[in-house]
Each structure stands twice: as structure tokens, then as C-alpha cells.
Subunit: 206 residues, 4 copies
DNA sequence: AATGAATGAGATTTCATTCAT
DNA sequence: AATGAATGAAATCTCATTCAT
């Protein structure tokens, strides 16, 4: 199904991905027309089809590739880190940073799932759940160890994810604060929000 | 020839609002066609225009009325409550509850702003900012009083709001947990996330 | 078919006719919507149908009544006048004057015939031909008498009518010239245009 | 599936113009639907938009191109001709001939101005005025030279133009008279209508 | 007489997609 | 790989008209 792009000329495809991402980020997938997309890339509508199969598939691939990458990068970010607190810190730092650096991809992958058709939707949702599970597992470990207190683990997982993901809706790279500042604020909120009164004391580092 | 009995009268507008909300919630504003909407209501597409002016205006009014109501209800929920901690508790409880009870309205008002035209967008954004300011003011008061520690007040405001709003994306009224459970989990996360180590001690109530 | 307006309340019907005439004059029959018309009159679209049967019939009656009146007034204007020159003068004066005083009716009756359905069109065209025949007869009499020279009587009839009718497209009641000035200019053009070199001499009066 | 063979290619635009002209001539611009137009051309409605931008723009371009051509051809027709009488003769012959040969274009350009939007209307009206001025200048020269007597130059200009333009409303190429006959009748009407008694005598040529 | 709400047809325009060149 | 021109479906919106109230 998906075209094998030859060795010569992958530049157009890259331009399409980039423009598509920007247009969806700005107007939404439904509101983005292939006319606009082609114009942005500097080719005609018909020519798009030398590079893509359908609009739906383009969206799907964009989201899927993002999910693959984010999953892989998360794995790398957590690799070798032990202990629920340390793993949580790593998770937060990674997630928030990624949601600033790749905010368009993240935004699309979060808010355009509705536009995926049934099959594609299922596939992406499974990947999302794998991602969420990483956080859920950290929380669970922490609760088991008595380091975290949360009312309900699933709810807490959703809540923390929602908080951390929110950054992609307002972050501007030329804004008032640096990425590190933003990561810090979120880390404090999450860690304090979850930790028990005791476990926190001695090693507060934020 | 004869019109569908029962759909006549002033009930139609209410049916339109309700169906519209549901369709936007499920498919998104751009993806919802007036054909679908009319079918849902049980009238012809053209008949919609006895009740609305344009699709855009319908969206705008739906969102605007929601914003007016949520602002007014928030005011009521905070009325007479003193002290940043108590005000924050009230804010969280109100916000989370409202985002479960009116999740469709809230979802639309949060995720369909993109579909508003420039003028309408500005008007709604102003109302959103008024809402956000209520939380920002609480945080600021708490920081000034030394009860809260937050890295950056604006970031913390966004983060808390994103967390609390997230509930409208997954809450099901027939789900595993009751609304009170969900409110409790969020309240704990927020209050612990923001409070200083000291101020918290004596009167922890969660 | 045509409603018998009762003895009470013919005011609305008069308002409809007047507004309709103005709207057709300004935008054309096809471009005028009954919405606009109703709004102009100050009632709702549906209420129009207490006064008219169809949009088509409204146009037809407007034109028909105009044709009846113009035919009758022309007859009056020519009554008792003898001789082709004198009759021609009377014709020109009447036609030009009428096309200034009633320019909207005239304009509609001239340029909206296309919008009449087949039956109505035939009826109006017959009346128009009766009107044209009056001028054609005058020309013919003048040619027979040797007072007029025209290449072809039918062509000359059309040409003179087109010239005289044109006034309804540019005349403004508050314009630079009075109606008499405009009539004079047209009379001279027509009479000189048609007359023989000889017949003209002695009694030139313009 | 496969498109109508033969309608492919750059001939389509020409077919659109031609069919559009005919349909407007017969039914009026407002009454002509793009459905009809597409059917006439042998393509689907949507396919029209590979060639036009909007219905309005199609009308505008049709009229504008006509105006450009008629202005240019008039210039050519008057080039090198001296003296108000000779120039007037040339004007009449050109105008009447053009209004028979290109009667559809002329009709549309004269009677569909109403359907142009404000900007387009202004542009075309300016071109019309340039055309009218050519006649007005001839009349003025003739009056100055004492060859023409007219009550009022502006009125006479309108009157003569209305007369000559009228031909496009009734001329049929297979009618009773040839184009030369029709031109002759109009030339006589105009020249006699305008000329002084004296200037005419010696060299009457009609 | 007037209204509000309905109808069914139809308007212009946009869309994703196809395909011969 | 790109283009221009086609398709067929669908979008929003308008229209004249009807009719219970």
C-alpha cells in the first residue's frame, strides 16, 4: 500500500509531511484541504498522489510514525533508571520536553484521532495505551512501595498525562520561559502531587 | 407533503442544540454535516435555517452560552469562600464536577475553538481568559501567603487546568468510579502538587 | 385566480406592488427574493401569500396593468389628433414623458419579459405589439402621404421606439434637465430623422 | 468513470464561454444555472471550476473582453476619418453592424450589468463611458461646426445610442432584411435627425 | 391577515480522487 | 514526478411555497 519512495527525490515527500503537519496543527485535519496542502508544497493537487495514497493514510502514517518514535524515545529515556521516583522524574522530563520540541506532531496525534477510520484508530489507540501503561506502571510501583499516594491509579495516570500533554497547546519556542523552567514546574507539580508526606522529606531536590 | 408531526414548534431549536452538541462531540465540528444534524432532528436541511443563521453562528452560540454559564457557576461556587487553600479546593471540585456533568459542552468549548472565525474566536478566548484568571488569582494569593510553591504561576495555572479539564475526554457516567472519587483524586493531586511542605501538615483533610 | 381584495386593507397590497417594482427595477426579477420583498413591506414571507398567488403572477400583473394603462393613456394622448406629423409629435411627447414619469414600471415591462412564463409572455407581447402598431401606423401614413422617408418602416418603428424608450434607463427626476427639455430633444431627433427634406421647411416648429 | 471523450483539453473554456453567452442571452444571468451551463458544455458542474473561479467572474470576464474588443474595433473603424458627418456615418455603420454580428455579447454587456458586483460594475461602466464619449465627441464637434443641431448633447448621445443598440434585441440573421439595409435605415434616421436643414442639402448621399 | 416553521428542490462551490499526457 | 482536466459526491445555504395556529 504505502509507496516505496525511490532513492531519488524524497524531498517532496518530506515537504508534504511538514506542510501537512503544520496545516493540521493550524486548521485541523478535516479543515485542511489537499488543495491547500499542494499549494503549500508548491505542486498541484493531482501531483500529491505521486507521493501519498489517500488523505486518510497520510494522517495515519504521520500519527503512527510519531507514536513509534515517541514510544522508542520514551524507552530510551527510561532505560536503566530504577525506582519509581526516579523513573517518574525521567518520564515527566521526557514527556514535557518532547511535547514542546515536537508540539505539532504531538498535537495532531492527540487531537486528530477522531479523524482516523476505525481500523487505523484501533491501531493508534493500542500504541497510546502502551505509552500510558508506562506511566501507570510507574505509579503502581510507587504506590506498592508506599512512595506515592493516589486516590485511583487510572485516574491519576490520566490526570498526570493530561497535565503534561497540555504544554503542547500553549508552548511557544520564543516564549518567556526556557524549556527547563517549564519542565521544572511540571516535575514539582507531579512529584509533590503524588508523593507521600514522608517519602518526600530528605531528598527534595526541586 | 405534511410535515413530521411532533417536530413542530419551539422545541425544534432545543433539539437542534442537543443534537449538534452530540454530533460535534462525536465527530468534530468540521466533520458534522448539516445533513446529519437535520436528520438527527427529524427535519430537512433547509428547515434548519428557520432556527439558525449559519453553521458557524450555531457553534459560536453553543460555545458562548456554555462559557457564560460556566463563568457564572464558577462565581457561585467560589462565593463566600476565603483563603487560597479553600478556594482552590472549591475550584477543583467545581471544575472537575462540571467537566463530568457537562462533558459534551466542555469538550466542544475546549477543542473546537479552532473552528471559530476570527471575531468569534476572540470573544470566546476573552471569556476563557477570565475563567483562567480565577485560578491564576487563587494560585497567586497562595504563593503570596506562602501556602503554595509553584515554579511559575502561569505555567502552573495552565498545567492544573489541563489536568482538571482532561476528565471530559474519558469520563463515562456509567464508569467504574463515582464523580466524588474522581474529584477526590484530582483534589489530592492538585493540592499536594502546589502546597509547601510545612503549610500542609496540621490540617490535611484528604 | 387573482384575489379579490376586500374593502378593508388594500394598503398592504399597494405596498407590495410598490416595493416589488422598486426591487425588480434595482436588482431584476430573478435576483429579487420574496424574502427581500416581504422585509421591504414589513411582513413575513408567508404573509405575502395572503396577497399574491405566486411570484410569477405578481410580475405578470404588474406588467399587465402597466401595459393596459400605457395603451389607454396613449389612446387618450392621440385622440382627435390628425395628420401623421402631428400624431407623431403627440406620440413622442407622450412616450418620452411616460417613460420618465413611470420609469420603473416601464423598465420592468421592457426588460423583464424574459422572466414571464410562456402563456403570460404571449399575452404581454400581444399588448406590446398593439402599442408598437400605433407608431408603425403613424409612420406608414406619413410615408404614404410623402411626408416621411424611412428605409424600412418596421426597422424605423423599432429604432424610434428604442430611442424613446431609452430614456427610462438614465432619467433622474432631479437631474440637470427638465422633462420638457428632454422631450424636445427627442422630438427633434425623431421628426427630422423621418421627415423629407421638403415637407419640413415651412412649418418647422422645433 | 471515464470522462466524456472530446471535451478534454483547452477547447473546454471556449465551449464554456460560448454556451454561457447563449444561456445568458436566452434566460438572463441570474436565471442561468451552472448546472445548465455544465450540461450544455458536456461536463459536470464541479468541472467548470477547473476553468472559472466564480459565476460572477465568468460574467465579468465575458463583458470585459467584449468591451475591450468593441472599444478597439470602434477605434479602428473611426481611424483616419475626418469631419463630424463622416465620423458619425462611420460610427453608426460600425455600431449597428457590430450589434447585429455580435448580438449576444452586446446584449449581455448591455442588459446584465445589474448582475455585476460593485467593483466589477464600476470597471465596466468606465469602459462604457469611454465608448459613449466617442459619440458625444462627434456630436459636439458637429454642433460646434454648425453641422448638427441637437437640443442637448448628452441627451442626444443617449438617444442615438439607445436607437442603434436596440437592433441587438430584434435582429435575426435569417430575417427579411440584410445587414446593409438595416444600417442604411439607421444611418438616415440619425443623420437627418441631427443635421441642420442647410448643411445637408448638396451632398445628400443616402 | 399575519406568523413561524415546515418542505423539496435547487443554487454555487469545494472536495478527494483519477488518469491521460 | 508533475500537470490539467475530469469525476461524483457532498457541502452550506437560499428559494418559493404551504399551512396550522
Amino acid at each position: 500500500m504505502s509507496r516505496t519512495v525511490g532513492s531519488y527525490g524524497p524531498k517532496t515527500m518530506e515537504a508534504i509531511r511538514k506542510a501537512c503537519l503544520r496545516l493540521i496543527f493550524e486548521h485541523g485535519f478535516e479543515a485542511m484541504s489537499l488543495r491547500q496542502l499542494a499549494a503549500e508544497v508548491g505542486i498541484r493537487e493531482g501531483s500529491l498522489y505521486n507521493h501519498i495514497n489517500t488523505k486518510q493514510e497520510l494522517l495515519f502514517e504521520l500519527i503512527k510514525e510519531h507514536m513509534e518514535e515517541v514510544l522508542q524515545q520514551l524507552e530510551a529515556a527510561l532505560a536503566g533508571i530504577e525506582g519509581s521516583v526516579e523513573r517518574l522524574k525521567a518520564f515527566v522530563a521526557f514527556h514535557v520536553n518532547y511535547h514542546m520540541v515536537r508540539k505539532k506532531e504531538v498535537f495532531v496525534a492527540n487531537f486528530e484521532l477522531r479523524s482516523l477510520d476505525a481500523t487505523n484508530y484501533s491501531e493508534i489507540v493500542a500504541m497510546r495505551q502502551a505509552y500510558e501503561k508506562q506511566l501507570a506502571d510507574i505509579l503502581e510501583e510507587g504506590v506498592t512501595d508506599g512512595v506515592f499516594i493516589v486516590g485511583d491509579i487510572r485516574v491519576a495516570t490520566f490526570a498526570v498525562l493530561a497535565m503534561l500533554t497540555g504544554v503542547c497547546t500553549w508552548y511557544r519556542s520564543n516564549g518567556r520561559l526556557g524549556r527547563d523552567d517549564i519542565i521544572k514546574t511540571h516535575t514539582r507539580l507531579v512529584l509533590h502531587g503524588l508523593r507521600t508526606g514522608d517519602g518526600t522529606r530528605g531528598r527534595r531536590s526541586l
